[in-house]
């Protein structure tokens, strides 16, 4: 549904996109994950026909975003990174405007606006100017506006930034519902949990290109590998634990952890660590191996963290 190849875009000396590739099948959620300035918003703007790339091609629903921009616009909905609702209008008026621009028949428009307001929990506030909305309500209205026309492809640029956990879960729920109806979603996010929960495939973006693609669990297994953590019963023994495990990180609550390189056998590592700790006569409260979190994957891929070699 979304096919991107070799996109490049520069702003003066800044290279925003540097050979960006992407392929998202219909009816799936692709999460773009990357640090600030990685080029996520730029990629979304190109796909939403707002920005012309310097080179490379991008197709949405089979249509070229530059040469067939009008066709692409028939298919897409966009929630940009920055609010696109009119403060001076009420929530309902904002949606009614979109409905009029989409040329929905009057009755159908009225029904659709009411339905969407209801689904986003904005029915009570529908008659109030958006100026009086909280940040979360405003964001929900923004997302609501982008799917009023039942787009086949939905772009969400950081849809839940600034939302409380409850509203965030609501938006996730809505996105899942849309995907169940066959909508293709491309979302960018700063929240790894969001990508983990929502995305069928995650593309880690850094310096204007996709550095790794996979399902969340593939990424965790491939890059993050496993983490071994130990909590000594007596915090005073932490240095001894570190001596045993080697290059380890210590959290403030006394948990010592080491990232294991990919492919290591969790059971063997665990057994070996247990044996070593007993030899050193360290009493342990907690000992375990778990898959790295997407956070650790993210940090590892974007060079802000390097997975350490396994001990022993």
């Amino acid at each position: 549904m979304i096919e991107v190849s070799g996109l490049r875009k520069r702003y003066g000396d800044t290279v925003a996109l540097d050979g960006f590739d992407l392929a998202t099948p219909a009816g799936s959620v692709c999460g773009l994950l990357g640090p600030n300035g990685a080029g996520k918003t730029t990629a979304v703007r190109v796909l939403a026909t707002l920005l012309r790339p310097d080179s490379g091609t991008a197709r949405v629903g089979g249509f070229d975003v530059v040469r067939q921009a009008d066709r692409v616009r028939e298919l897409i909905g966009l929630t940009g990174q920055f609010a696109a609702v009119d403060d001076a209008l009420t929530g309902a008026e904002n949606l009614r405007l979109i409905a009029r621009l989409l040329e929905l028949p009057r009755m159908q428009a009225r029904r659709r606006v009411a339905e969407v307001l209801d689904r986003f929990g904005l029915a009570d506030a529908a008659g109030r100017p958006v100026r009086t909305y909280s940040g979360g309500m405003r964001r929900r209205l923004d997302v609501a506006a982008s799917l009023l026309g039942r787009p086949q492809v939905l772009f969400l640029d950081e849809p839940t930034t600034g939302l409380d956990p409850r509203s965030r879960a609501d938006v996730w729920e809505l996105v899942r519902g849309l995907v169940a109806d066959g909508t293709t979603v491309l979302l960018t996010t700063q929240y790894l949990e969001e990508a983990d929960r929502l995305a069928d495939s995650v593309c880690v973006v850094d310096h204007g290109r996709v550095v790794r693609t996979g399902t969340p669990s593939q990424l965790k297994a491939q890059i993050g590998g496993h983490t071994l953590s130990v909590r000594p019963a007596d915090p005073a023994r932490i240095p001894d634990v570190v001596a045993v495990l080697g290059d380890a990180a210590v959290t403030s609550d006394g948990l010592v952890s080491v990232a294991l390189s990919g492919g290591s056998d969790a059971a063997a590592v665990l057994a070996e660590a247990a044996a070593e700790l007993r030899r050193a006569e360290v009493a342990v409260d907690e000992l375990g191996v778990r898959l790295a979190s997407l956070d650790e994957v993210f940090l590892a891929l974007t060079g802000q963290f390097t997975a350490k070699e396994v001990i022993a």
């Binding site: 026909t49 707002l50 940009g80 696109a84 609702v85 009119d86 621009l101 040329e103 026309g149």
Partner: protein, 255 residues
């Protein structure tokens, strides 16, 4: 995109401007407070000094102040266009299957209503103070038409400013820099003959002088001279220069 659909989209966006206006009628205050202050200040403070009699001055100054109000109203619309482009609203609009020109058309159509209100208010206050029309309905109709033409020309300058300015403050500053020399350097407040000699050359060619003279002629039945023709020529010239520039800048802003 067919012209009918383009108009429909422009109409929807004009509707938005009007709804906004209904929610925040104080916008009207923004564009009329200045002219009203000017009416009162000039008529009662300087009226006797300029014309020897404030009633006579009122007849002279009201058409000119209407032109000034029109310019403020036009440039005021640059601010709303600018804020659309600076915020995500414009991105959303451009991601929709609507005509490229629809947002511009919407602003211009929607704001025409504001211009009309601003003008009606100035003449209303004038009438309350004793301003009288002496040229019948056809004169009033011709004057209204001429103001519309002039406003639709100036709105291209406003559009250019609205598109290129980086912030609302810039829009405001540019607007003032534009409006004050044009209105004070004209015969809106003081007849050309009473202005300092060095200024008169500019005052005589100033489009604001031409519109004001044309309006006085059409409303008061005084001889029009070449003022109406010159207003139309000026309007055409402004459109010829600023419309392509504005459209070009607008296209670039939408890349």
């Amino acid at each position: 995109m067919s012209p009918i659909r383009t108009l429909r989209h422009g109409g929807a966006l004009a509707w938005r401007n009007l709804v906004k206006f209904r929610h925040t009628p104080d916008q009207l205050l923004d564009i009329t407070l200045m002219p009203i202050t000017f009416v009162l200040m000039f008529v009662f403070l300087f009226g006797n000094a300029v014309s020897g009699d404030w009633h006579a001055y009122l007849q002279f100054v009201i058409p000119g102040i209407a032109v000034q109000a029109l310019m403020f109203a036009t440039l005021g619309s640059a601010i709303s266009l600018n804020s659309d482009i600076r915020t995500g609203v414009y991105d959303r609009l451009r991601s929709l299957p609507i005509a490229r020109s629809a947002p511009l058309i919407g602003h211009i159509l929607g704001d025409t209503v504001k211009y009309a209100l601003a003008i009606v208010l100035v003449f209303g206050i004038g009438a309350a103070l004793g301003f009288r029309v002496h040229n019948g309905l056809s004169g009033v109709a011709a004057a209204a038409l001429l103001m519309l033409v002039f406003a639709l020309a100036v709105c291209w300058i406003a559009t250019l400013i609205g598109v290129v300015a980086r912030a609302a403050e810039t829009v405001q500053a540019l607007s003032l820099v534009l409006v004050f020399p044009l209105t004070f350097g004209s015969n809106v407040f003081v007849p050309t003959g009473k202005l300092p000699g060095w200024l008169q050359a500019w005052v005589k060619i100033n489009p604001v002088t031409q519109v004001s003279d044309a309006l006085r002629a059409l409303l008061l039945g005084t001889p029009a001279g070449p003022a109406v023709t010159r207003t139309l020529l000026w309007s055409a010239a402004i459109v010829a220069v600023f419309a392509p520039l504005a459209v070009m800048a607008y296209r670039r802003a939408s890349r």
